[in-house]
């Protein structure tokens, strides 16, 4: 920003080397809008070019140095001034001096660690971005390029089902079962509710998915609950011995992987809430945490064998064996 028309200013543009081939994903911004950003994974190299274009032809641009940074930071909304940077890399592009004409600088951040997934929530934001800066005496010229990072997991080795008997003494006893405790974002929750004792007049039953975002530590912990989904699984009055099936497809809902104590700053956890409602609108509920994880879209060849073994271990169905033999054929 210059008040007078003399002096020089410049425009910065950051362009990634693989902009043509790299996948873009939609990510929510703080005001709820959705935008597309380049998608990166942990360990990937971030490389590109910084184009500095001088606005006023013929004039020189004096500067105190040009640099580019790769930053991963957590921003708590109630504490906006403090950005907690967990990744901070910098590359100097130009020593202090003068620029006579527009110039392009190459940069490369090799095998950058990106330990957490990008997240925009109700009270906290975790983001990664490139920031190119031309330092000047009075005011710097800056440009940011935001990217999105996804954290991937493979099928967990241990994925026990959740099975529990709950109720109110002498009034209502149910046994609920969910087929897994860890679900990937495009998974299906398969379960059942078995009625052992029904002495109240139930009208219907639903299963809700609740997202709980926790920010702050110690006495200043704040939980923000959001009901992501409400899915009716039974309409009408059950009796003893009845089994109600559950089949809930997760792909239709906007969810993130479970995030536990990210950099000791925040958590995002998901709960299944089973709710029974009686004739007088009284609600009886049981909450159970589930772990959500993100599955990679492309299963690389060296991984497919592992993935097939892991899936056979907990599914044990005929189709897994077929996958296992198929994977072996590919590796051979």
């Amino acid at each position: 920003m210059s008040f007078f028309s003399f002096g020089q200013t410049a425009e910065i543009d950051i362009v990634l080397n693989d902009a043509e081939t790299r996948k873009k994903v939609e990510h929510k911004t703080e005001d709820g809008k959705k935008d597309k950003y380049f998608l990166f994974y942990d360990g990937e190299t971030v490389s590109g070019k910084v184009n500095v274009t001088l606005k006023n032809p013929g004039k020189r641009l004096e500067h105190q140095g040009i640099k580019i940074e790769f930053i991963g930071q957590i921003e708590l909304y109630f504490d906006r001034g403090n950005h907690h940077e967990f990744v901070s890399l910098v590359k100097d592009l130009a020593r202090p001096g003068e620029m006579a004409q527009s110039q392009t600088f190459d940069f490369e951040f090799t095998h950058v660690e990106k330990p957490y997934e990008s997240y925009t929530g109700q009270n906290v934001k975790l983001r990664y971005f490139l920031r190119a800066t031309i330092s000047r005496r009075l005011n710097d010229i800056c440009k940011e390029l935001e990217i999105v990072v996804h954290t991937l997991s493979t099928y967990p080795e241990l994925n026990s089902s959740i099975k529990m008997e709950v109720g109110i003494e002498d009034c209502l006893h149910i046994e609920f079962e969910y087929n897994k405790s860890k679900y990937h974002l495009k998974d299906v929750i398969v379960g059942k509710i078995y009625f052992l004792l029904v002495r109240i007049k139930i009208k219907h039953m639903e299963i809700d998915i609740i997202k709980r975002e926790t920010t702050g530590t110690g006495p200043n912990v704040y939980h923000e609950n959001d009901t992501i989904a409400k899915y009716e699984i039974m309409d009408g009055a059950p009796v003893r011995g009845e089994s109600i099936p559950i089949r809930l497809f997760l792909a239709g809902y906007e969810m993130t992987p479970t995030m536990r104590d990210i950099n000791k700053k925040f958590s995002v956890r998901y709960y299944l809430n089973l709710v029974l409602i009686d004739e007088e609108e009284r609600r009886y509920f049981k909450q159970q945490e589930i772990t959500l994880w993100r599955k990679g879209d492309i299963v690389r060849k060296s991984m497919s064998h592992q993935a097939a073994i892991a899936s056979q271990r907990f599914e044990g169905s005929a189709s897994s064996e077929k996958a296992l033999s198929q994977a072996k054929e590919e590796d051979d």
Partner: protein
């Protein structure tokens, strides 16, 4: 090779239901009727009683069928007892209708047929809502209200279940 498996969405195995459970009477049978309003007494000392008839198969109630006569102030007593002793949110009673008890009305006041019917319906809704509440079912006052011949206002409040 793309996905190793398509998600398995087959139902989980469940025990087949016993036929007597499936077709027998449900374990949650509870019906309370408030009916047959009778106005007793003369002049200023008149009051209306209602028959409160209960049919149930819930084991917590000692009698599977009971029939008692109660007046509006008995319902008020029950509401107060529950508000004091139990943690439940007690539903509202139909109004006290104090205006109707003032003199120089053109109609029968609280003994007006339409008003009694309105009140009867409200009391029936009230008692059904309460009696079906698992926590209210623990309170001795509810059992006394529904199944004892008369309400002993000097009773010792307490719980029925452990």
């Amino acid at each position: 090779m793309s996905e190793a498996t398509v998600a398995d969405t087959r139902r989980l195995n469940s025990k087949p239901q016993d036929l007597t459970d499936a077709y027998g009477p449900p374990s949650n049978f509870l019906e309370i009727d408030v009916f047959d309003p009778q106005t007793i007494g003369v002049g200023r000392n008149r009051f209306t009683t209602y028959e409160v008839r209960m049919k149930t198969n819930l084991p917590i109630f000692k009698l599977k069928e009971s029939c008692v006569r109660r007046r509006y102030s008995d319902f008020e007593w029950l509401k107060n007892e529950l508000e004091r002793d139990s943690k439940i949110v007690v539903p509202p009673l139909p109004g006290k209708a104090l205006k109707r008890q003032l003199p120089f009305r053109g109609d029968e006041g609280i003994f007006e047929e339409s008003f009694i019917e309105e009140r009867r319906a409200g009391l029936e809704q009230f008692i059904n809502r309460i009696a079906g509440h698992p926590l209210a079912q623990n309170e001795r006052c509810l059992h006394m209200f529904l199944q004892d011949e008369s309400i002993d206002r000097n009773y010792i409040p307490g719980k029925v279940r452990q």
